[in-house]
């Protein structure tokens, strides 16, 4: 039985999950999207909320209907994004942009379910675009990874984008 509250299990999980995050980043850098989908649980949730700059003391009411999202995706929607990227008609990605992810600040914690782990990390996405300009996108991620057999699979990802104004003309990348 996996118990991340115990030292050896946690240590093994930290190693395995850190490797998993690095591997995931490389799959995305190399546009191996189908392989990336293999890392996701079928019930995956992939989420990035919209934010605004507010005064710390601001007490105004939350927006009716909700703040809205950049991503609020399940497996099918992520697949749809990949279908588009694979269509051969996404001109912004052809020739391919130079995309490299740096993943860091990995912290592994026990989750409320015994077969899951909570993983915090930071991702910096370097995109050298067709216009020759480089954009850097930075985000914090809080993941839930689920143990299945000997491997870990992504069950949920909450992405905190660190830009009030997106410094790029598209988000044809996964975080």
């Amino acid at each position: 039985m996996l118990d991340l509250r115990q030292e050896p299990a946690l240590h093994d999980a930290v190693t395995a999950l850190t490797q998993r995050l690095y591997h995931e980043a490389r799959l995305l850098d190399e546009e191996r999207f189908e392989d990336w989908l293999e890392l996701l649980c079928e019930d995956v949730s992939y989420h990035m909320a919209l934010k605004s700059r507010r005064f710390r003391a601001d007490r105004s009411a939350p927006i009716a209907v909700g703040a809205g999202n950049v991503f609020n995706d399940n497996f099918a929607r992520l697949k749809l994004r990949i279908d588009r990227l694979r269509s051969g008609f996404v001109w912004a990605e052809d020739p391919p942009n130079f995309v490299r992810r740096v993943v860091s600040n990995v912290e592994v914690l026990p989750a409320d379910k015994p077969d899951e782990a909570l993983v915090h990390s930071v991702v910096v996405i370097h995109r050298n675009r067709i216009d020759g300009q480089t954009r850097l996108l930075t985000a914090g991620r809080t993941d839930r990874w689920r143990k299945g057999g000997e491997s870990w699979f992504l069950a949920a990802r909450e992405i905190a984008l660190d830009h009030a104004v997106l410094p790029d003309s598209n988000v044809n990348v996964f975080f």
Partner: protein, 448 residues
Amino acid sequence: MDVAGLIDTSTGRQSRAIYSDEAVYRQELERVFGRCWLFLAHTSQIPKPNDFFRTYMGEDDVIVVRQKDGSVKAFLNTCTHRGNRICRADRGNARSFTCNYHGWSFAPDGALAGVPLENEAYFGELDRSKFGLVPVAQVAEYKGLIFGCFDPAAPSLEDYLGDAKFYLDVWLDALPGGTSLVGETQKMVLNTNWKLPVENVCGDGYHLGWAHAGAMMAVQSMDLSGLSVGNSSANLEGGLSVAGLNGHMALTSLDGVSGYAFYPEPKPMLDYLEANRPVAIERLGKTRGEQLWGSQINITIFPNLQFLPGLNWFRVYHPKGPGQIEQWTWAMVENDMPEQVKATILDNQCLTFGLAGLFDNDDGDNLAACTEQSRGWRTAQMDVYTNMALGRSGPREGFPGDIAAGLVSEHNQRYFYRRWQEHMQASSWSEVPTYNLNPLASREAVDA
């Protein structure tokens, strides 16, 4: 600067200099953004007293504030002392705005309310009444949309909108509950001249099947008024390109449902349309209630406001120099919609026209490259053309404006640039022509 030679409406020609020339841009800030009514905020974004929303008019930073009496005021977001920015939050609720630099504080009505060391350092001689926040000359609301105008001599907002209201009302006034903008502002930087996204959305149905082919293929259910993937076919009967309305435009299909064809599961939206259709017909008349309400419509209010009933996004472009903009987008809903429909609309922006929208993500690089290809020594001397379907427009029974058939035509773009040129050539509002072509004869015509 004389821009007479930069636009030729009769041939659909534009000089590329209008996308890159610094002098043209400075003149636009004065004669377009400094003169026209500009969208500031939706009334739903500042519902309560002291609610504020920060935006731009051209490159000028502006705060829009709901007053105690329910009215709305707008101010330049700059301290009258040494010019510091007053409000640094995007939105919120504040009982006062205090400057970070020396601590002057301003009431929500703009009055200078507090000055540190007023007696000790100013010897009580500062006339506070002369140092209130500087108001935007005119602020007015049209059915929930709050506009501001820097030019005290500008026509009223109602006159400025003119017969475009016929099309605006399809969204703003179809149902008694009115409309709202929902969600936080989706902001992105695009390295494009501001006119290129406006011309794209005001009339360019031509790019849909090609620029967005990848998204259209992925989302197979989508069929936008007969436009198909790869631009292999286009049905010109299903839509209208409407212009000749003081620079405002509409690009609309006529089926009364196609706006919602982009939703993966459109049934709740179609049920909503069906249930409310009789009310819409009663309020808007048969033509608009049956053919326009529920259709995919692109509405453009000159110079920089665009919104799309159906896809339900609402957008302004803030210029940041000739080669850059901030594009701000919201989701929009009718207040009479069931909560589930509203939530679906907000959520759908993730997929279509949000920061990571499958469709939005196709446009930015094209616009940026058109801008870049206007900056070279040689390219700045070259021209570009919107000459599709030249001379093929006219009146259409039941619809105001000068109208070309179909969503694929460059008719609207020509009127956009014509209006731009008219403003750029005029030294004041008195020299700007007014035209609402082919007006409806009467209210009865509206109801026909």
